[in-house]
Subunit: 874 residues, 2 copies
């Protein structure tokens, strides 16, 4: 206990001392250490807080150290606590080693009392400001330090406004506020039985205790619990001199960036206001001036500021976002941090800093958040245009990009309108595979139901189309061709704008910006490719998908969903004929019609992928997904197939499932109807032969879905191998192919050793693995999952970011068991997580060979894969 | 290779040589070794088969050994291959170390040719028999050994019957069959170009090769593959002298048991026929005589048989099921095996054999198949009555026992009829919680849809009522009050009989037998309880359940489903009021109405269980399960709650889920509506206080369902603990309680270490764990799961018998991780598997503390738990 140092003057610390000084304290010390002018101050350590909670009192020696530091502060500022001419005012802020935003308390303007307020009036020449500061201080202090209910103060303020007949606080003048101060003090007296303390040292002591105590308030405890923050000692307390930018014409305040955060251009950027407080700049009451104007009015301070921003950028080796205040000609830096920036700026800054030799390539790669790249790959809403409109509803950001178009409610209508050259947004309660063509024709999709991996979302992402899904605020009545949000009713042909990156929906046409893949972007991708170990494939079903994906750098197809081929044109008819038949013979006849079409699909895909591996998944969805839902369509189907409507209805009824996600789908179809697997295998191998004959190399990987037991795979593999042998014998061509399986049922992961004895590759289907592993239906979880994320149960929607401890654990088990049997077993991921950066990083860490994602997320995956390698090395 | 012995005469082997001699060969050797008269023979080893497949020829030395053994056989029988007076006939049968029923080939009557057939005519005095034997031999041999198509023989036989104008084979006489033999030989010649071999040694050589080859026929390979039979060398070949019971008045054949297999009584039991073949006894053409009659006709042979049965029973220490043949006064034993028996007999024999000091208690415990006990605990269909009727349909044996009653289609009607004293069977397409009261009133339940763990099945088992579920052959039209099976239409008030143990459905009233728990049963249970380590609890929701369960020996309640309490009487109204409200205030008001009712439920349960632990699961099913489905009920509800029908419909629509099993249920309800958890916790603790005040000890274990993430449990536990504290403070009583969780979501098992930090116990909910772990909806899998079991993908329905490698692996992971954090963590199982013997044994092996099952399965679980301990020690 002895010899412990409880208080550090800013000049005594540095950024390495986060555990002891907290995050905020360590950074203020770092700036001070760099010689940057920071309002002086000191930090009481987290250890002090811990001892306070243990012994319920201040540790011995803290008093003395505190006094010593106050003296140093007074000396540094040439001001004194309670001084009538040069009063010292300070802020008291909490600051733990881990960020706990808003969880603990802050007191500003500490040091004001009935006497010093006069000095502030004199110094600031702004009586209103002085009284308002005093008023705020009493309110904050009374609330935080003395436990006076917030609403008691609010009542006084409300009455003051009422008496004057005004609405806003800002309409109260100095004398009004002076009266409020008087009444506030009475409130404190009445509530606590004590006078509001006039002695700044007592104010400080109470504030320090309050902050210590706030470490263990209920909110903070819950926050730490939910965020798994453990092992911390307590909070540090930062006491820092207040500085004011509104002390007259030689004072001012501003915010600036060492480079342009919008474009990334390397020029000093920012804005300021003279005789103003930080709040004024933010609030937009007065219009700030560009930072270059400061050069004219305060040349010396501007030069100093430029020198500081250069120094800070060089020191932190990143674009800095800084706050400064000039108090009576003296410049103070209040904050510096790595600046937020647009995707454009991030890429440009990273690449240019390498050219400037400020950072190396690896650092540049780590500097750009992969998720941000999305902005560069899709149309976006023009930020200027966005400022002028308000969203009418907000759903899930299901597929990024922005879209403007006329509302249509039916897929067929979307096709018709698109053929006439109209841009349309397809609006549905939910989409089904029947809507695919309409989705193709639309520029964007909006659904009232469904989650991040609902049909609409998955298909839209695959197509690279903007989609807002699960927008539960809107009500869609397809038959009435009506969309209702609150009292607003939109009809067919009304314009609507979607922002698929934020989930926002706007009424009317909002201006968009085109994506641009600049040269810097290409450079960054090149660097990323040098480092990454994970291959990046794409999920794609058509030659068009394949082409787009190769443009983005795809190294193969990780998932071709063959059922998507079943919906086009006449095919759906043959599919329905097959489903409706109860005899093997009729089923085989219908399948024979599908064979040439599927063969053609695969031929196109192989041709586009020229020798790169193509993973083809056998039929996956339950058969009822192929049947029509509307009465009219059912009638038409009955007519086409020359059966009764009753028969169609009976089949729909028979195939109905309570939990289709856990029903008759995946390889369970091929086990009960082996003829389907036979047809698909034949289409694959005949296509491969056709390509080989044209000199196009092919490498089909046949993937059996929804395997839970090795015997399922064995039975399906037997069929596939037999068909392959037959086709090779018939054609005289040898095809190199492999047969593998999705790992998407927990049981498959748990028995991966058995399954690996039959499988030549594993591909993790993390959508289903998440659904089953977490017991969470992606289509239904919208009702409670947002609340779960709010409560911090899951940090992020597990359908977006892989749940590493649950689903990830299954993946680790599967890889370990699988490679125990087959050391070199190729493992990949083809769930939606394959394009999400934190998931990609996890995939790298657990040793996958590749990730596969929708074409538009390939650059994101490439960058994330490179970052994973670099972080791994750290 | 040298010195290897390829052929064993029966007297050279014993039952320990199964790997080398196959199962059949080893057992024939054992009987021979015991001195029991067995028709002599020898076995060619499995190693020989392996070498044959390796080298494609007979190993050197086999010829010689074979000849030597043939000579031994001829000597033993005083008969010779091909002898015109005393010809030796043999059977040639396959027999691997593992049972592969019907997968490989058999040849009988080998040794017959044109000359020996005459000797057989002479010896048997039965010309027809001789020619029929010859005919059958050519057909079997031609098919198996020479590859002649079966149908070519059939054509000849069909023509012979046609020519004679008869329908059955048995109507052909000796001269007809003699002609058939001639034509058969021509068929062989024509098909193979070879004469049918007359030399018995050649016949034998070809037959041995055929059996070696049958080891690798497609059927056998597939069978081994699907049944994971690996590591076997091949099949052995058993060559055994044919004996005939139809060689005249001093020959005969019979089947007998060392004790009565129906009642277990210790007296010699069986039947026989003189001058007959085994087939005749089985076929029932002539009526066999009771074995005691044999004493009169063949005193010596009878005495010998009695001595043999005593010897065999003593040797095998179990009731024996034997086949014998007397050929010209000489007695031969053809088979002995442990006899199948009824549950009554099994229990009686086991207990009596201990009294006779033939076996010890442990052996007795292991002697009774736990599953069989079910027969003793429910009404059963009288076997005599059953013989006279044919089932009209077969569904899943969802809840054991038999029931006879009048058909009703609606729950309310069932209640009305039962009140009038009628016995009714409730017939529904499927049941829902609304039907509970009707199910209570019915004697049995029949549903057209749903699996072994569907609502109907689970509830029926809990109530101990007969239930046939998922009977897809029947069509139920509730509104039309009609049940259709094929062309049969049954209406309300028609009688129907269900056998819930077999899944059979009978038209009309079939006679039933009452269960009787005999003294032997009690003795066996006592012995079992001495050995078992697993505690056995019950799943029960009402004081009645609790009482029944205690009668069966329950040691606590492992699962009380609180939602079952929500359906009775006025409660459902309050529940619906809660669900329909969108405001917390209204919800709380509705919950306040439920509080006293739930408190009363728990008080009753605690009182009945007097100090035994009671695990109470918080509300689990999705809320839509509580809403009405029929339009009429919805209207009524709207009226009752004074809301519009639209509002009721809108709520139903809003709560609709695509995959309710993975939807908003379990603790997800309590997280979104904490007030529900609060109410339930309050009811539990207030009931506990009420009981304690009356001096009744209570030990509530509050169980949070469907936890996937530790934070869910933490949030719910916080509420429970707070309510407990409040209630204890209010009442001044201290209640001992624990808070734990179901482990039913795979993620919970995978992160059990985290969850154990908050949970005081784990209870495996293996129904859901199976659904999610295998990706299998219990309500939908009926469409393909039967085929899966047929194909051998799963050996048994995983909802009946725990899938040990998949779901079991999750359990093992959970226990290991959980106990790593809490060494003494109490773990149990409350899924349906808790009463299934193989699952109970698994639960013992992985170290669970208890199993919980429906009351009627408690004795089964007790016995299975004891067997698990005894097997573990072996």
């Amino acid at each position: 206990m002895t010899n412990k140092k409880y208080v550090y003057f800013f000049s005594e610390g540095d950024k390495s001392m986060k555990d002891l000084l907290g995050g905020k304290g360590a950074n203020l010390a770092e700036m001070t250490r760099l010689g940057v002018p920071v309002p002086p101050g000191f930090t009481i350590t987290t250890e002090t807080c811990a001892e306070f909670h243990k012994t319920k009192k201040w540790p011995e020696g803290l008093d003395k150290e505190l006094e010593k530091n106050i003296e140093m502060l007074e000396k540094a500022m040439d001001a004194r606590f309670g001084d009538k001419i040069k009063p010292l005012l300070v802020s008291v802020r909490s600051g733990a080693a881990a960020s706990m935003p808003g969880m603990m308390d802050t007191v500003l303007n500490l040091g004001i009392n009935d006497e010093t307020v006069q000095a502030i009036i004199r110094k600031s020449g702004n009586e209103r400001f002085a009284w308002d500061s005093y008023r705020r201080f009493i309110q904050m202090f009374g609330d935080v330090d003395m436990g006076v209910e917030h609403k008691l103060f609010e009542e006084v303020l409300d009455k003051a406004k009422e008496n004057k007949g005004v609405k806003y606080d800002t309409e109260l003048d100095a004398s009004d506020l002076k009266k409020v101060v008087t009444e506030y003090k009475q409130v404190v007296k009445k509530a606590t039985g004590k006078d509001f303390p006039q002695d700044p040292r007592e104010q400080l002591r109470l504030s320090i205790n309050a902050i210590f105590n706030s470490w263990n308030n209920e909110r903070a405890i819950t926050y730490r619990k939910l965020n798994n923050i453990t092992g911390l000692l307590g909070t540090a307390v930062n006491i820092q001199t207040m500085v004011f930018g509104n002390m007259g014409p030689t004072s001012g305040t501003g915010v600036c960036f060492s480079r342009n955060p919008s474009t990334g251009e390397n020029h000093f950027y920012g804005e300021f206001l003279m005789n103003a407080q930080g709040e004024d700049v933010v609030a937009g009451i007065r219009t700030p001036l560009p930072i270059s104007e400061l050069k004219k009015t305060m040349h010396k301070q501007y030069a100093e500021l430029v020198a500081i921003k250069d120094k800070l950028e060089k020191h932190y080796k990143d674009m800095q976002d800084m706050e400064f205040t000039i108090q009576e000609e003296k410049l103070y830096m209040l904050q510096t941090r790595n600046g937020k920036r647009t995707a454009h700026a991030a890429v440009r800054i990273a690449v240019e800093m390498v050219k400037e030799e400020l950072i190396d390539e690896k650092t540049a790669i780590l500097r750009v958040a992969p998720e941000q790249l999305d902005q560069l790959l899709h149309k976006t809403i023009d930020p200027a245009a966005k400022k002028k409109v308000k969203a009418i509803a907000k759903g899930l950001p299901a597929s990024p990009g922005a879209a403007v178009g006329k509302i249509v409610f039916h897929a067929e209508h979307a096709v018709e309108m698109a053929e006439k050259g109209e841009k349309v947004v397809l609006v549905r309660t939910e989409t089904s595979p029947e809507d695919i063509k309409g989705m193709h024709s639309a520029v964007g999709i909006l659904t009232a139901r469904g989650g991040m991996t609902s049909h609409a979302a998955v298909v839209a992402r695959g197509m690279g189309k903007a989609c807002v899904a699960g927008c539960s605020e809107i009500k869609v009545e397809e038959d009435a061709k009506k969309l209702t949000v609150g009292s607003l009713i939109l009809k067919e042909n009304d314009y609507i704008t979607l922002d698929g990156s934020t989930g926002e929906v706007f009424h009317g046409q909002v201006g968009l910006m085109n994506p641009s893949l600049s040269g810097d972007f290409g450079t960054l991708m090149e660097w990323a490719d040098k480092h990454r170990k994970l291959k990046v494939r794409t999920n794609g079903d058509t030659p068009t998908d394949a082409k787009v994906a190769r443009g983005f750098g795809a190294e193969g197809i990780g998932l071709c969903r063959t059922e998507h081929m079943f919906f086009e044109g006449d095919r759906i008819k043959a599919v329905r004929e097959m489903i409706l038949s109860d005899s093997l013979e009729v089923r085989k006849k219908a399948l024979a019609k599908l064979l040439p079409m599927q063969r053609e699909d695969f031929t196109g895909l192989f041709t586009e992928m020229k020798g790169l591996p193509v993973t083809i998944r056998l039929l996956d969805p339950p058969l009822h997904e192929f049947l029509p839902h509307e009465e009219e369509d059912k009638k038409e189907l009955a007519k086409e197939l020359k059966v009764t409507l009753e028969r169609v209805n009976a089949k729909c009824e028979e195939l109905h499932e309570f939990n289709p996600m856990l029903g008759h789908r995946g390889c369970r179809l091929g086990i009960i109807f082996p003829e389907i697997t036979e047809m698909q295998a034949r289409a694959i191998f005949e296509a491969a032969v056709a390509c080989e004959k044209k000199g196009i190399e092919v490498e089909p990987e046949v993937m059996v879905p929804l395997v839970g037991h090795v015997k399922e795979l064995r039975l399906q593999k037997d069929i596939i191998v037999k068909v392959a042998d037959d086709v090779m014998k018939e054609s005289g061509k040898k095809i190199k192919y492999t047969v593998g399986t999705m790992i998407e049922v927990p049981r498959a992961a748990l028995t991966a050793d058995e399954i690996a004895s039959e499988a030549e590759f594993f591909s993790f289907g993390t959508n289903d693995l998440t659904q089953m592993g977490l017991g969470l239906s992606r289509d239904d979880s919208g009702k409670f999952l947002p609340a779960y994320v709010d409560l911090g149960i899951y940090e992020r929607d597990p359908f977006q970011a892989l749940d590493q401890s649950g689903v990830g654990e299954l993946m680790k088990i599967a890889i370990k068991k699988g490679r125990h049997v087959k050391e070199k077993l190729k493992c990949g991921i083809c769930g939606e997580h394959g394009g999400e950066p934190s998931s990609v990083e996890f995939c790298h860490r657990i040793g996958l060979n590749y990730v596969s994602c929708s074409p538009y997320r390939i650059p994101i995956a490439r960058l994330a894969a490179a970052q994973a390698v670099l972080r791994d090395k750290e």
